[in-house]
């Protein structure tokens, strides 16, 4: 007898299919969002899995549409922020991996944008990732990050200003 499954709103039991749908519909996006925010793909895997687990535990009222995506993204950002505060974060790769690193001479190619976003300070990086990658609205970002919408707007503006010189070879057509 499995009595550990949450019950969805209305009394219908949550099914394994719902979990599969969450992972299929949002898994890649959440994983890459976490990677962009944490700047560490290995840590992002842990964060994405934790996000799905927390979502499954409290799932019930979110059915499709942007609200579900916003809700999942909010969970992911909480998980990522917790990880950034964890003392384990600085030990993730181990000193043997980080000591004596040399910058490669490999030319920058398709990863220019990736590294430009990764170079942003955290508070700018998260609004850029949520706006440009997750394609959330200002209001949705405000909900996901628990900051006022005005603050989101200001951070986005400043993030664009920082990105502009790093991506000066790109066409930049936003107002």
């Amino acid at each position: 007898m499995d009595v550990s499954k949450p019950r969805a709103a209305g009394g219908a039991p949550l099914t394994a299919a719902d979990l599969e749908r969450l992972m299929a519909d949002y898994g890649d996006g959440i994983l890459r969002t976490c990677a962009l925010f944490l700047r560490d793909p290995a840590l992002a895997e842990d964060a994405a899995q934790e996000t799905m687990l927390r979502a499954w535990r409290s799932y019930g009222g979110f059915r499709g549409g942007s609200s579900e995506k916003t809700w999942l993204t909010a969970i992911a950002m909480n998980v990522c922020r917790t990880m950034l505060r964890s003392p384990w974060r600085t030990r993730r790769a181990g000193p043997e991996a980080l000591e004596g690193l040399t910058v490669t001479d490999a030319p920058r190619g398709d990863d220019t944008l990736l590294h430009a976003v990764a170079a942003l300070p955290r508070k700018y990086r998260e609004v850029v990732v949520l706006y440009y990658y997750q394609e959330l609205t200002i209001r949705e970002i405000s909900q996901a990050l628990s900051v006022p919408a005005n603050t989101v707007g200001v951070r986005l503006k400043r993030a664009r200003e920082r990105l502009r010189p790093m991506l000066k070879e790109w066409y930049y057509d936003e107002p």
């Binding site: 007898m1 499995d2 009595v3 550990s4 499954k5 019950r7 709103a9 009394g11 394994a16 979990l19 599969e20 992972m23 890649d28 994983l31 890459r32 990677a35 962009l36 700047r39 560490d40 793909p41 290995a42 840590l43 992002a44 899995q49 799905m52 687990l53 499954w56 409290s58 809700w71 909010a74 950002m77 993730r92 790769a93 000193p95 043997e96 991996a97 004596g100 690193l101 910058v103 490669t104 490999a106 920058r108 190619g109 398709d110 990863d111 944008l113 990736l114 590294h115 976003v117 990764a118 170079a119 706006y131 440009y132 394609e135 909900q143 996901a144 628990s146 790109w170 930049y172 057509d173």
Partner: protein, 453 residues
Amino acid sequence: MTNHRMRDELDTALGGLIFSPSMQERVRARCGAEPPPRRVPLRLTRRAAVVLAVCAALAATALAVGPTLWGIIQGDLGAKTPYATEVPALCEDQGIRLEVRSALFDNKIAQLYFSLQDLTGDRLDGDTQLCFGLENQQEEGNDEMPWNSSSVRQLSYESESHTALFVLTLNGWSTKNRLPLQFSGDWILSGYRTSRDYVMAREDGLSAVPLPSAAADNGTTVLLPEPARVAAWEAMDPDTRPVFPITAVGFASDGKLHVRARISLEGVIWSDIKARVYASEEAGCGVYYGDDENVTQTVVEDGIDYRFDSYGPSDLNRLMQISVEGDYSVHSAPVEGVWAVNIPFEAIPSRDIVIPGELRLTTWVKGETIRADRISLSPLSMTLYCSDLQRDNWVKMPNYQALSVSVYLSDGTAVAPVYVAGNTPWAAWEFSEPIDVDSVTSITIEDQTIPVP
């Protein structure tokens, strides 16, 4: 720059990052096994003494009579059996004996086989929760993390001898470790079950209008059961419906948020049931936190009424979910005690091979590479160590699982080990059968061959 173009470019750059089948499987496994009610906190001191909580819900494999414990261990180890060492470590407390049976330290992966035996009763079974810790007192100057991850798996339960057998696996074991590992435990629970019922505030139509309430024997206000909720639960499949269902939820006549649950403890030996509200700090904010503090419990006719003293009608817009969650056992009460053993570290001899030149491996990110520095070969596995793992603010993620690896022996045989585990700076592949390390002539990774002198 348009939204869509940036998204497309980032997706291209990160195209190798996918929520893989193995990740999905790990999520499914965790969703199917609720965490136990107690955890040993993880701490890391400057002297690198690390305590790792190992708590897992375990599924039994059937064993009434048949192979001895060592036979079961051999079956699990397979071809690795000759390389495992017996570990003379045992302790007893509260009538339960903890005995480490065997250990295998192979480069970055360690496996410890241990048993629990009830010497005085029948408190163990094939569905046992364990709370144990691992502590490694590292040598001065060794700041390396002792391991990356761990898992515990129950192999068997033998009812005649009241003995349960487990295997603990540590991935990313630090090969610099030389001091004994302390394996300790403080809590055992068998017959573990869990139940959870919840209500979504908005979707369920929770309102600020007080629900029918009454005074309990002690004078406190409690909710009366809502007939519709009770009927809905009773109509559910008995095998899948919540064991501790919510029979009423909302604001009572005392102006506080309540949730009432039917708690039937027939057949339950031990239980730990909590009510929790998930709320945001501000109305309309999409981030919610679980809160199970300031909760007053009142026993009612068929269960418990929980009053959340911090929540009133003015908080309605902050509420997302109210839940009643319980862990319980139908077998025995938890056994609390002190079990601790030291496990000496004895690694399988291995051979280090420095990779000459500049062997570069691709990562998940297009155009990005890392450097492969050395290989450690044991009869059981091959471990690859890499460097150049950070670029500016970005930690690279090698795609070790996709690498094609072959090991060539002096008799012309080519062996293809199977990837088993890895983290950012290392990855391990296991041989299906032990090899003679001295007979290895070369190793090929992708299309690059490394001669082995």
